[in-house]
């Protein structure tokens, strides 16, 4: 399947927003992070969701019909819309509460739940039995690890910008990078067991022996084939190793020394997340292969 760029950006934005909402809620519950950080995180989060929302409109061929019966409850898109609305609502509640004073615990707990659900429905929308590489628990693991990493690094960066103590978010970034490495390893192992059988050939007299689709092992495409560059350079080296090294080296650093490194780690995490999604779409062949 061709890369669906609007969906790449949309899922990236939802993971980032879900992760950041989770982190800021967790920090509020644990009594970490200043009101300035919380405000900055909430505003950043709203911006990220809006960017994702704008991006996904570019995927729709008839966006003007979005209210023409939109809301079929078994649809993953409907679930995503519900969670985006809930996330925006709780972020507005956060901002209102912060204007009055401190963020109450109930709002932070609500933020935790909404963040987890938003990340879950993002993964669930692409869990389709028709596409074996998408139809695995490892995809959920990856999305949760991805959200955790982006949320932790974003909280690290925003904490540094707000002038907060950043050790908690720095350590979380380190743990999240390890979690993502494990999730990518599990996903790779799982899809390594998926193979497709050739079922036929194009009905084309000029290409009598041309296979309908590439039916080799999908893991070989990812590890040593046409997607190897995106996987090794993008996902592994930039998206995991670089982030892991930065987080390990700077996790206990003072806020004033963190901004540049946390910003670099944030960019690396985003590049890794985009590369993985490109691979995800490229491997998203149907269970029944033909033109």
């Amino acid at each position: 399947m061709a890369t669906q760029w609007p969906l790449v950006i949309f899922t990236l934005a939802l993971c980032c927003a879900g992760g950041l909402l989770f982190m800021q809620s967790l920090m509020a519950i644990l009594g970490k992070g200043s009101a300035k950080f919380q405000k900055l995180a909430a505003i950043t989060n709203i911006c990220v969701i809006v960017i994702g929302g704008i991006a996904v409109f570019f995927h729709l061929q008839h966006w003007e019909r979005i209210f023409n019966g939109f809301g079929h409850i078994t649809s993953g898109i409907t679930h995503e819309l519900i969670m985006v609305v809930l996330a925006l609502a709780i972020l507005i509640v956060f901002l209102v509460m912060l204007k009055k004073g401190e963020l109450p615990k109930w709002a932070a707990y609500a933020g935790l739940v909404i963040a987890a659900l938003m990340v879950f429905v993002t993964a669930n929308s692409y869990n389709m039995a028709a596409r074996p590489v998408w139809n695995t628990f490892a995809w959920y693991l990856f999305i949760f690890a991805d959200a955790y990493l982006m949320g932790a690094i974003a909280a690290w960066l925003l904490g540094a910008i707000a002038g907060d103590e950043t050790k908690f978010a720095g350590r979380q970034s380190f743990f999240a990078a390890i979690a993502k490495a494990v999730a990518v390893a599990i996903y790779t192992a799982v899809i390594g067991g998926i193979k497709f059988a050739s079922v036929g050939h194009y009905f084309d007299p000029t290409q009598p022996t041309k296979a309908v689709a590439e039916t080799g092992s999908y893991i070989s495409r990812m590890l040593s084939g046409d997607l190897a560059g995106a996987f090794w350079a993008g996902v592994v080296i930039i998206g995991i190793v670089a982030v892991l090294v930065i987080a390990f080296m700077k996790k206990d650093a003072e806020a004033k020394d963190v901004t540049l490194w946390a910003g670099t780690a944030c960019c690396c995490a985003v590049i890794g997340a985009i590369c993985f999604r490109v691979i995800f779409f490229a491997l998203g062949s149907s269970v029944f292969l033909f033109y």
Partner: protein, 220 residues
């Protein structure tokens, strides 16, 4: 409950593509889209280690399977894809927002985005014809009388196609008489057993189309 469907006797199908062409003509299917498409399965060895000429092959026409539990309907955010009373899956183009999640969710790759109308399209089982008692165009034009249309709930033996012309020879021979003629599959095609009847791979969507293949290994 009715479940309109098509059964293809693959031992009769000669891969003439008349069904694909007829579908294109009657439904104005855009270039590059195939509501009904043909796969060549094989050549496959007839036994372990067999080489040419001990090989065989068959043609596999594929279209929307009008599933019993269609994934495309589940993922549609607007309800544009829907299962209607005759058991077929139809698309309300006025509701389609072109998100293409149905294209991703379909295991058979038989849904296409119409770039001009910006909506997803697929085989309608010629609803415009069957609702008036006619047959789908692919069944009408099948040169090998391999394609049969009917209600799956009544069994595939009851599926019908146009009868042979000699059945309506005489003073009544006319286009209308021919178009009104029907012959049931059960008494027409060579005998088959239940083990000769196949569906495309089922990942929980319950495809309703049936394929009959005798004396060959099903690869579909």
């Amino acid at each position: 409950m009715t479940q309109y469907s098509i059964c293809v006797d693959l031992n009769r199908c000669m891969g003439c593509l008349a069904c694909s062409v007829a579908c294109k003509m009657v439904n104005d299917v855009p270039i590059g889209s195939f509501w009904n498409k043909m796969l060549r399965i094989g050549p496959n060895p007839r036994y372990e280690g067999a080489e040419v000429p001990d090989v065989d092959m068959y043609y596999l026409p594929v279209q929307c399977q009008h599933c019993g539990n269609p994934e495309c309907v589940k993922v549609c955010p607007t309800g544009a894809s829907q299962k209607v009373a005759d058991g077929t899956v139809q698309i309300d183009k006025e509701k389609c927002i072109g998100c293409q999640f149905c294209v991703m969710a379909c295991p058979y790759g038989v849904r296409y985005l119409n770039a001009d109308e910006k909506v997803v399209e697929k085989c309608t089982l010629c609803e415009q014809k069957t609702s008036q008692g006619e047959l789908p165009q692919c069944v009408i034009n099948c040169g090998g009388r391999a394609r049969w249309f009917g209600d799956l709930e009544k069994g595939i033996d009851s599926f019908v196609a146009y009868d042979e012309p000699h059945s309506v020879y005489g003073p009544s021979l006319s286009y209308d008489a021919m178009a009104a003629s029907r012959v049931a599959m059960g008494g027409y095609v060579n005998p088959y057993s239940s083990s000769d009847v196949y569906t495309l791979p089922d990942v929980g969507n319950k495809p309703s189309m049936r394929y009959i293949l005798r004396n060959k290994k099903w690869q579909g």
